[in-house]
Amino acid sequence: MSNLNTQSNLEKVLKAGHIGVTSECGPPRGSDPEEVRKKGLLIKDHVDAVNVTDNQTAMTRMSSLAACIHLKLIGIEPVLQMVTRDRNRVALQSDILGAASFDIPNMLCLSGDHQSFGDCAQGQNVHDLDSMQLVQTVRYMRDEGKFLGGDDIKRPPKIFVGAAANPFADPFEIRVPRLAKKIACGAEFIQTQCIYNLDKFKEWIKRANERGLTDKTFIMAGMTPMKSVGMAKYMKNRVPGMDVPDEIISRLAGVPKEKQAQEGIDICVEHIQELKEIKGVSGFHIMAIEWEEKVPEIVERAGLYPRPAI
């Protein structure tokens, strides 16, 4: 995995054998670019790249591509998240070229939460492609220099392509085969769902190791610090595909309310330290939802700072 395909700093860091660190910015529910920049600057020096979510939970927000451009213009490397829920293959390819025109060097391909969770529950969804087929599409555009329709692309997009994996969704038996499929489609890095159940995650990555999959892609473990016991319960009970063990909830419940946030950060740091040692974990994707200011502390305490300059 030593040849670089893009100008992506994230690709360079991972391929140089460093533990990669990414975080994310959710674009605002408005048009103020300052909100994007402010979030980006909070984490800029502590990560290799910043994911920009694409209308997450199907709530209408500033477009992911526009927010990526705002970050790129102030020297922060974005990871453009793109869901297949809202755009057909014409719009997806068009936005990929738009991103490449700003030299946005990373993309994460997702299907996206169902629109019934968001503010446009009565809207259509598209799903012309699925997330794996979107990975294939970006790789095809980059590596073959062609549109899906077969025509040549002038200046093909140079994009490092990622996909998501949820080790905790059901059925568990196909979670590793599904990872294998994503890799076969061309996923060069994987960012996982938030990990709280370390045992189940370790079992997943063990099976991935056994199949040699961790040699073919970079797996970045997803981390989200809990702000409170209420958030932990919400994640456990209300968020699809989330696995929050009772011990996390009881640990948060065991400290006074005003100290729960700090306890959540501590748990996150401990989990990173533990998973850092696991074969097959190539990095961490720290999703501190509307809590970006805590990312530097987590990265520093987990021993992932300073970030390598390559």
């Binding site: 996206g112 939460d113 294939q136 899906l148 085969p177 599904r178 699809p240 595909g241």
Partner: protein, 222 residues
């Protein structure tokens, strides 16, 4: 079959309140089987409308008829002789039947009495569930006989998505995850090896996306 459900009677009343001679027109095919628009439902709706308008002091002529099929010229022609007896028709056929009748009797106002829901099956007494979206290019051979187009809320071709929990879809714990069903069936067939075959990007030109669809069979044309 085509699954339909009755429209709220208030909606039908609102459509027909200004007409005096109304035909309630049932269909003896799918909507009879799914108990939304057959002879029985024609009777029930007609009685309810009569009662409603009588209580309003507005007695109307409300007749009943149920055709063998409303998606067929031959049966729709049965109305030809009496069509001028009516100011309006409420058709309890699916959207196909309503349109076919409307095309045939251009000057008679025609209103749907049911909402056409899906292509589905009678899963249990009083329960009809979707099985097909008529995408025009069947992939069931590759998906263990379970259709991700009609049964996955994101029509994911390489599923399941990350929202599958305990065999249920992220949109509702009452909805089965299609990909859980596919995996279960592939297991039962001892064909889990097929799971890792990547489904290619689908050609949706045979779906709704390609415009109204037709099937032409030269060998059966007269």
């Amino acid at each position: 079959m085509i699954i339909a459900e009755k429209k709220p009677i208030e909606e039908i009343i609102d459509e027909v309140k200004d007409f005096n001679r109304i035909l309630i027109l049932g269909c003896n095919e799918c909507v009879t089987v799914c108990e939304a628009g057959g002879k029985k439902e024609v009777e029930v709706l007609s009685s309810a409308l009569r009662m409603y308008f009588i209580t309003k002091g507005d007695e109307k002529v409300i007749d009943e008829k149920t055709l063998e099929r409303q998606c067929d010229h031959e049966y729709l022609e049965e109305l030809r002789g009496n069509i001028d007896d009516y100011d309006a028709i409420v058709s309890l056929a699916c959207g196909v039947g309503v349109q076919f009748a409307a095309e045939k009797y251009l000057t008679t106002p025609l209103f749907p009495g049911v909402n056409t829901v899906c292509l589905g099956a009678n899963e249990d007494r009083g329960l009809w569930t979707e099985r097909c979206q008529a995408c025009g290019s069947c992939i069931l051979a590759r998906t263990g006989g379970i259709c991700p187009v009609s049964r996955c809320a994101k029509r994911v071709m390489n599923g399941p998505c990350g929202g599958s929990t305990n065999g249920k879809c992220e949109i509702s714990k009452d909805v089965d995850c299609a990909w859980q069903l596919i995996v279960d069936r592939l297991n039962a067939l001892n064909k889990m090896g097929d799971y890792e075959k990547v489904a290619p990007i689908k050609d949706w030109s045979t779906d709704r996306a390609g415009g109204p669809r037709t099937v032409t069979r030269e060998d059966v044309k007269i």
